[in-house]
């Protein structure tokens, strides 16, 4: 597909286009329609889904769908620019709960990213310490954000104070181990490799050094967002949330420095299930903020190592979910599954003031293991959308009501 200078081969594009045309022909034949018909008939249920009656949503969805549908057929001129001629820029990072800033570019770039691995003791809950292994000194590691087609030079540094070797597997990378083989480094070393961000989407990265489960269980994961060439639609707020499960010798809340419990990890018996590496990382003073009438986008990842998240926000509906961080946008979703080693983008328009609660709706994890966060929406109430309590009074059912 691409030669060594990073250029797309015209042949591959023509081949891809031919494949798409062939598929269209097959579809048209089996669907009993004229292969030359560009516009699907108006009574096609898929069209009705897209052109839903709510104008704001419809416009948003139409943009997204049109963009993704056209993608395979476009032969972008920008892909022909040799890597050596690309502007070199430093990759911006975002530390949870703050997303990395939008790419805001309409051209390819050579993006340089540096990430440092640090092993450090931090609190996993008030009064409970844990020896985390981290990317960038935080759990999750910083969000990396690039644009589809970018040529990325990635440098991983293992701090000299580390006890362990580490590496990185970026799920956005096509290549051996997602970069894992190229980046395995002992403490006090650094390693560099480069890749082209071929696929847009939201991807997990994690350490992949044996025993992999232990490195992930100790907090070594984060997200890399590869924005589609057109970018994500602009929103008012973006946040970065990542779930993870932790396996400590002591049970939830047992104070002091807690050791990793291997048997517990193998049994998938998590002591903690948390957002952003800590009980309370998104509650109280740490709660995320928004105003009524804004659109909020959450980049939600799940580092695992074991548990699939039933991600839910109490008190609102996801107006749009980019399923599994990929190209399909679903609408009007209550709970979205986020697999270990996977991600999703959820968006909602805030309608009324409320304290929204992020949970893993596998609900004992929320109430007993820490998987809870807050997003406080302030602004004008709208009693038509939500009234609040109108009335309260004693209730006396009829004695004859079947008892």
């Amino acid at each position: 597909m691409r030669d060594k200078s990073g250029n797309l081969h015209a042949g591959a594009i023509v081949g891809g286009a031919a494949l798409v045309v062939a598929l269209a022909v097959v579809l048209a034949l089996f669907g009993g329609r004229d292969a030359n018909a560009v516009e699907p008939p108006a009574d096609d249920p898929r069209v009705q889904l897209t052109l839903a009656e709510t104008p704001a949503h419809a416009a948003h969805d139409l943009t997204i769908n049109a963009v993704w549908a056209e993608r395979a057929l476009r032969a972008d001129e920008e892909d022909q620019v040799p890597v050596a001629d690309l502007p070199v820029i430093k990759g911006a990072l975002g530390y949870a709960p703050h997303a990395a800033p939008p790419v805001d570019r309409d051209y390819r770039a050579h993006v340089q990213v540096e990430l440092e691995v640090v092993e450090k003791v931090m609190e996993i809950a008030d009064g409970v310490e844990y020896r985390f292994w981290t990317f960038g000194g935080s759990v999750p590691g910083p969000m990396i954000r690039v644009r589809e087609g970018d040529y990325v030079t990635f440098t991983l540094q293992n701090h000299p104070s580390s006890l362990m070797p580490h590496n990185i597997d970026l799920h956005a990378v096509s290549g051996q181990g997602g970069g894992a083989e190229a980046t395995l480094i002992a403490p006090g070393q650094q390693a560099t490799f480069s890749f082209t961000a071929l696929n847009p989407g939201v991807y997990v990265y994690h350490c992949a050094t044996a025993p992999v489960g232990m490195h992930i269980a100790n907090g070594m994961y984060g997200l890399i967002v590869v924005e589609p060439k057109e970018g994500f639609p602009a929103v008012d707020r973006e946040y970065y949330v990542m779930q993870g499960d932790f396996y400590t010798k002591g049970d939830f809340g047992e104070p002091g420095l807690q050791e990793f419990d291997m048997l517990r990890a193998i049994d998938e018996d998590a002591a903690y299930v948390v957002f952003n590496g800590r009980v309370g990382s998104l509650t109280g003073d740490n709660a995320m903020q928004a105003k009524v009438g804004e659109t909020v986008r959450l980049f939600v990842g799940n580092g695992g190592p074991n548990l699939t998240s039933s991600f839910h926000v109490i008190g609102d509906v996801f107006d749009r979910v980019w399923l599994e961080g990929g190209a399909i946008v679903n609408r009007d979703i209550q709970t979205t599954l986020i697999p270990a080693g996977g991600a999703a983008v959820v968006e909602f328009d805030t309608n009324v003031p409320a304290s929204l609660t992020l949970v893993d709706h596998s609900i004992f994890r929320a109430f007993n293991k820490g998987a809870i966060g807050s997003l406080v929406v302030t602004g004008e109430a709208d009693p038509v959308v939500y009234s609040g309590r109108i009335d309260v009074r004693p209730y006396h059912p009829e004695a004859t009501a079947g008892y």
Binding site: L163, P165, G177, A186, Q189, T209, A210, P211, E259
Partner: protein
């Protein structure tokens, strides 16, 4: 091999070690412990060679200390801090020692660290010894507190993993930590240790099995083919060795000699 032959071999090995020590008395050798040898299951065995046979050998009861390595450096100034060519040791070589080439603030009784494979091998050679092979080292590491096969002792895997995870950032003196069934100290609780055949990192190009092993250690599916997937401490050791090159000099890595 008959018992008699083994005993004779062990005696011979002892005699060699003794001679070497007499020759280089200034590099006071650590007490060595005799290991009868046997069969050891490596974490990623070559197919058909699930058990590596290890002949009887002797191994240092403790890691080599800063004090002992300083004595060696005084005798062999080509291995002094600042004198070693970069191809034999990265710039971190003996970084924890003083600028004058003495120990500085380093604990004389702590394991020497920030030593490259080349420097460690030179030290052992000067003692008439050598670095232990990976199979030898793993055989000793596998010992429990009472039994040569630690897997037969309840809690062995968790105990060893806790020892590795509980290491201090700066290692303390040798010979005060865990003692195993062979009478060998500090196999897990102080530092990583160099082995003679450090593994995949030094021979990926011409060893198919080593290359496979390296991939197994790096990928999520990496436990396929591993002898025991719940020996996490063993995974940590093998992964650490996979990341090494012979010039590496790091703060958590020391060595001991064998003969």
């Amino acid at each position: 091999m008959s018992r008699l032959a083994a005993a004779l071999l062990a005696l011979a090995a002892l005699a060699v070690a003794f001679d070497a020590r007499a020759e280089t008395a200034h590099v006071a050798a650590a007490a060595m412990v005799q290991v009868t040898g046997g069969e050891v299951a490596l974490l990623f065995p070559v197919e058909g060679e699930e058990l590596a046979t290890v002949a009887p050998f002797a191994i240092d009861a403790t890691p080599v200390t800063n004090a002992r390595f300083l004595a060696f450096v005084r005798e062999h100034p080509e291995w002094a801090k600042g004198a070693v060519p970069r191809i034999f040791a990265t710039e971190g070589y003996l970084a924890h020692w003083g600028e004058d080439g003495g120990l500085g603030a380093a604990d004389p009784d702590a394991p020497v660290t920030n030593v490259s494979w080349f420097a460690a091998a030179a030290y052992c050679e000067a003692r008439g010894a050598r670095l232990p092979t990976e199979a030898e080292w793993e055989l000793v590491a596998r010992a429990g507190e009472r039994l040569a096969d630690g897997y037969l002792e309840p809690g062995y895997r968790e105990r060893v993993l806790a020892l590795v995870n509980g290491r201090a950032p700066v290692p303390g003196p040798v010979g005060r930590g865990e003692l195993n069934a062979y009478g060998v100290y500090d196999m897990h609780g102080l530092v990583w240790e160099w082995v003679f055949d450090v593994g995949a990192a030094l021979n990926t190009a011409d060893s198919r099995s080593a290359g496979d092993r390296r991939l197994q250690l790096l990928c999520g599916g990496g436990s396929a083919g591993a002898a025991d997937t719940s020996d996490y401490a063993a995974f940590l050791r093998y992964a650490f060795r996979s990341g090494l090159s012979g010039d590496y000099a790091g703060g958590g890595l020391g060595f001991r000699c064998a003969s």
